[in-house]
Symmetry: C2
Subunit: 336 residues, 2 copies
């Protein structure tokens, strides 16, 4: 099968190759009518530009990369859907790279991207990273970049997050209102603002309600499910066990269900549980899970919109440089 | 920041550029000792080859693409982990492309990949596709390709699946043994062998146990959650409503929970439910869900292993061209 190239298109349309090429690049020098004619034929003949040849000239791969810790987390799968909605409108492909929350993988992906594989990057930082030099280097390559959810405050790039402080505050107040006297905070990403802000919200809520903050109740969790399960079981085994758990990410809530079950503790009678989560099955769990639900789809959409503004060299308002979208508390049986 | 290129490496090592280049390409003309020296320095200086320049010469991007319907499905997130384990061992990056089970997106991604962006492709076909010409075209580009889970029988490429017929048979027999007289089969991917084989297993199990097959109990579901929910509610509303449901994919089980709940039907008292699923929360649901669980991680790992054999031009045994790995039934409360 002969491949369709610019020459084929130009010949069939009786236009010059350069006109066709500029029409495909959406150049302002070409009329809308001509562009439409060219695009229609290109589509009909399945014309696919050689991404390598094009890229050598002007680094336009018409792809964006989404670098995220994991996909087995409903927040990220919803955020991807939001990103893809915008990317499809713009005619871009979306490549997803997973760091598995590992610094070494994030580093390797950053270097891979630094060599110019994509036109723009949406990034949610690995929670194990505490050195961000690789991201600074990537940013210095002048590849447009937007952070979302797990952002790196140290780098001057647009950011889209939820109201982590307020949500952490609200979740803790809710547990206090439901009668909890001793609330454990299951933490991840302690090096990132997301982890810190949720912790600050928790602390502030304790203070405002006359509860003492106890360092022992802040549990530093990892991304290893077995380790987290054992950690939570340990916390629940002590004499001074907490009667409330605030999980800062979805997988810690699931680990808490198993830890409570295997410790012979009932949710919510013995331990009340609230978690940041976009888990689709939250209302179906036994008991159903009270969640702080992030507007994941919208976060993805807004982050992608911001990235395309950068790709199109449009300005971003200073007040939008860090966009903060509100999460919502859904009260269910786990805190009844 | 000056970027490190072949010239920099050559100068520092006092070698010719061509020697450095061949060492990095693992050429047999270069000694192991020299290769190690070159690789060590390349690593120390964060040398990253320009993927476009390299690719124009020999199409070696050191990336593989994974094309899948969705990530909000635990089967695929586990399969990706299996794929990435192998890819990391081989020093390859993994790019994930989502089709959202849409034919038009799969087509667009196939054309994108046909232009030579990646070295190899792992593909799980969109359940809405009933025309596979775009995959035939992709295959004709001689890009190594392996199908997994949702395979396209019409294309001569290695395949890794589970034992779809046997699993469909087993799930249906289990419902019959638990007392079900009228079992609905919630089907997707009716154009793919995965959908057909699971259906055949269901039919055969009915026959072997003296149950009549009823066309009305085969429910053609889509990928639209709302539509599926309404479909299932409709099935449960009739006078001859089924007392058993066999869901062929995870999201149909979740839709069934909601449909039963909103129809005032109890699982398992009124309706027993079994589903293909790798849902992490299956044991935590109310009631816990009986699942046919696929070896998702292993399927990903085997498919990737096969792809790398192709990339390394190693032969694949004829009996491994279609590898079938066994799924397992986990009996829980939803069929008690």
């Amino acid at each position: 099968m002969d491949s369709v190239n610019l020459k084929t298109l130009a010949k069939k349309l009786n236009l010059s190759i350069s006109t066709v090429s500029r029409a495909l690049r959406d150049s302002h020098e070409i009329s809308v009518k001509t562009k439409q004619k060219v695009l229609a034929l290109a589509k009909a003949l399945n014309y696919e530009p050689n991404p390598y040849a094009g890229s050598l000239r002007k680094q336009a791969s018409r792809t964006i990369a989404v670098v995220i810790p994991e996909v087995a987390n409903n927040f990220f799968s919803l955020a991807i859907s939001g990103i893809e909605e915008i990317a499809q409108l713009k005619g871009y492909h979306v490549l997803i790279y997973l760091t598995h929350d590992r610094y070494d993988l994030e580093l390797s992906i950053a270097r891979h991207l630094a060599s110019g594989r994509v036109d723009g990057i949406l990034l949610s930082v690995s929670s194990e990273s505490n050195d961000f030099l690789h991201l600074v280097e990537l940013k210095n390559k002048n590849i447009p970049m937007v952070f979302f959810d797990r952002v790196c405050e140290e780098i001057d790039a647009p950011k889209v997050t939820t109201d982590d402080f307020e949500s952490g505050y609200q979740a803790t107040v809710h547990l206090i209102e439901m009668g909890c006297k001793s609330i454990a905070y299951l933490m991840i990403a302690k090096n990132l603002s997301i982890g810190q802000k949720r912790l600050e919200g928790y602390k502030e809520a304790l203070k405002d309600n006359g509860h003492d903050f106890e360092e022992r109740l802040v549990i530093n969790c990892s991304n290893d499910k077995e380790v987290n399960y054992e950690l939570i079981k340990g916390v629940l085994a002590g004499a001074n066990r907490p009667d409330g758990i605030f999980a800062s990410v979805e997988h810690l809530a699931i680990a808490s269900y198993y830890a409570c079950k295997d410790s012979g503790l009932s949710i919510p009678e013995d331990v009340k549980l609230v978690s940041f989560s976009n888990l689709e099955t939250a209302p179906l769990l036994n008991p159903s899970l009270t969640t702080i639900t992030q507007p994941a789809y919208l976060i993805g959409k807004e982050a992608a919109t911001m990235l395309f503004r950068m790709l199109e060299k449009k300005p971003i308002n200073i007040e939008d440089q860090h966009l903060e979208l509100k999460s919502m508390l859904f009260q269910r049986e786990s805190t009844a």
